[in-house]
């Protein structure tokens, strides 16, 4: 499970935690800042800010966290693949032109497969070394979502001998006040949307030559192409007693019972988008260790000498006594996992039509496409 204990601890007393938990467990839930369960906080987003990169973006969340992503591409020699590419393409008797075109296209599309090592994601968080678990987990989760559909690396193919190597450098500029995964994922999405690669002028398998005119460069995710695709997005979803809450602030995370990181993308579609709805596809679901497990439990009256209880001798006894008592209003760190139905409901809520995911993708599109 991905560690979230590495982010700064929220210092709330057991009474405050219990208060938060109770108000989030109501129907409808009452959030500390009065938002609806599916309402996101406002943010500032800009892209194309770094002229020395192929693509860049910056997003500031309302709680002060800020991230910048820069994407650079480098031409690299491809390793020869020893896979069997011999196909029986013996020409048939009736050699229609259509058939030949289809066959060559098929062969090209099969050869254009990329490899996952052509994409390198690195995450830098202030205060963490590169080998610490938090940056490693975050970069693994982000690259997993990007490479999940298996066709992204195909865009980096130049010819049989060369390909583009894409470096995604993700910088968290502020301290990690809350779990930074959604911020980094949204910024990466924007940066990928704004990434351009120089236009290829050479043909076939010769050494690649590119057009020096930067205005002729092609977007990695073209706007008006025959096939419409977009990069993935990872969102944080939490649940408290059956209430599903999006864009949790760090206080809300401190009382969460379940926290999921859900990666979604749009299915590639042929032709322009006709309706306002998007065809969403689930790429990955990961559980995040909720920081609520690390909070201090409240002390029930039975073992509190101030309220007439008897003090306990050891921590183990205190823990075992606490496990038995289930008092309303006394904060206990959540124990156990989540019900399967709840997890399924959370995922369904992310993907539903006209729901949260579509709103996020619409917002990001509006930034890049103006």
């Amino acid at each position: 499970m991905a560690p979230s204990s590495a982010t700064q601890q929220v210092l709330l007393s057991p009474a405050e935690l219990s208060y938060l938990h109770t108000s989030l467990a109501l129907n409808p839930p009452i959030r500390p800042d009065g938002r609806a369960p599916t309402q996101f906080r406002p943010l500032i987003a800009e892209c194309d800010i770094l002229p020395g990169t192929n693509g860049s973006a910056r997003i500031c969340f309302a709680d002060g966290t800020e991230a910048i992503v820069g994407i650079k591409a480098e031409v690299e020699r491809s390793r020869p693949s020893y896979s069997n590419t011999s196909q029986d393409t013996s020409p048939t008797e009736n050699d229609e032109e259509e058939d030949e075109d289809d066959r060559t296209e098929e062969k090209e599309s099969m050869e254009k497969k990329g490899r996952n090592e052509w994409v390198e994601v690195s995450v830098e968080i202030p205060g963490f070394r590169d080998e610490d678990s938090m940056p490693v987990f975050l970069s693994a989760m982000l690259s997993e979502a990007l490479l999940a559909d298996g066709e992204f690396t195909g865009r980096l193919w130049i010819n049989g001998r060369f390909h583009w190597k894409l470096y995604l450098d993700i910088l968290l500029l502020s301290q990690p006040l809350s779990y930074p995964l959604p911020l980094l994922s949204l910024t990466t999405h924007l940066a990928l949307l704004s990434t351009r690669l120089p236009k290829l002028k050479s043909e076939g398998d010769e050494d690649p030559m590119f057009d020096d005119d930067w205005d002729a460069s092609i977007y990695l995710f073209p706007r008006n192409s025959k096939i419409y695709t977009r990069p993935p997005v990872t969102l944080l979803v939490m649940a408290v007693k059956g209430n599903i809450i999006f864009d949790p602030s760090k206080e809300e995370l401190a009382v969460a019972e379940v926290v999921l990181a859900v990666s979604i993308a749009e299915r590639p579609r042929i032709g322009e988008r006709t309706s306002k709805e998007r065809d969403l596809r689930l790429l990955a679901v990961r559980t995040i260790d909720p920081p609520s497990r690390l909070t201090h439990p409240g002390v029930p009256d039975a073992i509190n000498t101030a309220t007439g209880g008897a003090a306990v001798n050891s921590i183990e006894e205190a823990t075992s006594r606490r496990e038995v008592t289930e008092e309303e209003g006394v904060w206990q760190p959540p124990r156990g996992g989540a019900k399967r139905k709840l997890i399924a409901e959370m995922i369904r809520k992310v993907l539903e039509k006209g729901g949260v995911a579509e709103e996020v993708l619409d917002g990001l599109d509006a930034v890049e496409l103006g």
């Binding site: 309402q39 996101f40 906080r41 406002p42 943010l43 500032i44 987003a45 800009e46 892209c47 194309d48 800010i49 770094l50 002229p51 020395g52 990169t53 192929n54 860049s56 309302a62 709680d63 002060g64 966290t65 800020e66 910048i68 820069g70 994407i71 650079k72 591409a73 480098e74 031409v75 690299e76 020699r77 690195s122 830098e124 202030p126 590169d130 060369f162 470096y167 450098d169 910088l171 500029l173 502020s174 301290q175 006040l177 120089p198 050494d207 690649p208 030559m209 590119f210 020096d212 930067w214 460069s217 709103e359 917002g363 509006a366 930034v367 890049e368 103006g370």
Partner: protein
């Protein structure tokens, strides 16, 4: 190009300060393709787009540099302060295409230079340490540190894009961030680079000093970085390239004057932010 958007409720927009009133000609360098300078396995042809930054023939004809500036014009300088609400003080500075953000810990982003390099093996730790030490030694005697006994003031700098005048941009960004954090100091320390059009050995009497060099010019020509405290007091002077000694005085004079121009821009930014804060505080 920069595009901003807000989702859901309207949120605060980043406000842009007034652009430097001194540079009237657009100062952005022609956007070279990011991979054009890669030395290793460069499959591109070197087209004439990548010309020498100071082709002597074209410079002496029109006295215009590659990006259209004259000898005494600064690149576009934009700055903002209090960009990070989570830090005590923060600033964001752009001198042309060199960008640095502050919250003397220097990190170079992997995408800062022309080639993508990870910090470890990248710019070389020695260069980074030297930058750190220079900035540390600049500010330590300058700030009123006696007001903060038993404390450390940490300046964390991130280089987002380096296109010349790196030390100057870092010093300017640090000054702004310290002001934004409210650390008292007697005056602004501002920095600027200056160079000379003549190469080392030529006896060119008509060589002009140049103000505010970009990366291409820095790689070709001798230049120095100078930072001043008040109108005339130099606190930092770094020169790592060889130059005829007669030229140095001219470069220094031009650099000090450039620092004065930068000081006016930064002062304008600080005053504007202060006015806005006062306005927002009105009930």
């Amino acid at each position: 190009m920069r595009r901003e958007a807000y989702r859901g409720n309207p949120c605060k927009k980043i406000s842009r300060p007034t652009k430097a009133p001194l540079s009237s000609i657009s100062n952005h360098n022609t956007p070279l393709s990011p991979r054009l300078n890669s030395p290793k396995h460069n499959p591109y042809h070197h087209q004439t787009l990548f010309a020498m930054p100071l082709d002597t023939s074209t410079y002496s004809l029109a006295l215009l540099r590659l990006d259209g500036r004259r000898w005494n014009e600064l690149r576009r300088l934009t700055a903002q302060i209090s960009t990070l609400p989570s830090a005590d003080g923060s600033s964001y500075l752009e001198m042309g295409n060199t960008k640095a953000a502050v919250e003397v810990v220097i990190g170079v982003a992997g995408f800062a230079g022309v080639d993508r390099k990870k910090t470890r093996g990248g710019r070389g730790d020695k260069r980074i340490s030297e930058l750190q030490t220079t900035i540390q030694q600049t500010f330590t005697p300058h700030l009123f540190t006696h007001l903060y006994p038993h404390s450390t003031i940490t300046i964390a700098l991130t280089i987002l894009s380096s296109d010349g005048s790196l030390l100057a941009a870092l010093i300017n960004a640090s000054t702004l961030a310290l002001i934004s954090a409210g650390i008292p100091q007697p005056s602004y320390i501002t920095a600027c680079t200056a160079g000379s059009t003549s190469s080392y050995s030529s006896n060119d009497e008509s060589a002009d000093p140049l103000l505010d060099l970009n990366l291409g010019e820095e790689q070709e020509l001798p230049f120095l970085t100078v930072a001043t405290k008040d109108e005339d007091e130099v606190v930092v002077l770094v020169m790592e390239s060889r130059c005829q000694v007669g030229r140095v005085e001219g470069m220094l004079a031009v650099g000090v004057d450039g620092c004065k121009q930068v000081r006016q821009v930064l002062d304008g930014v600080v005053r504007e932010t202060g006015l806005k804060t006062l306005e927002n505080a009105k009930i």
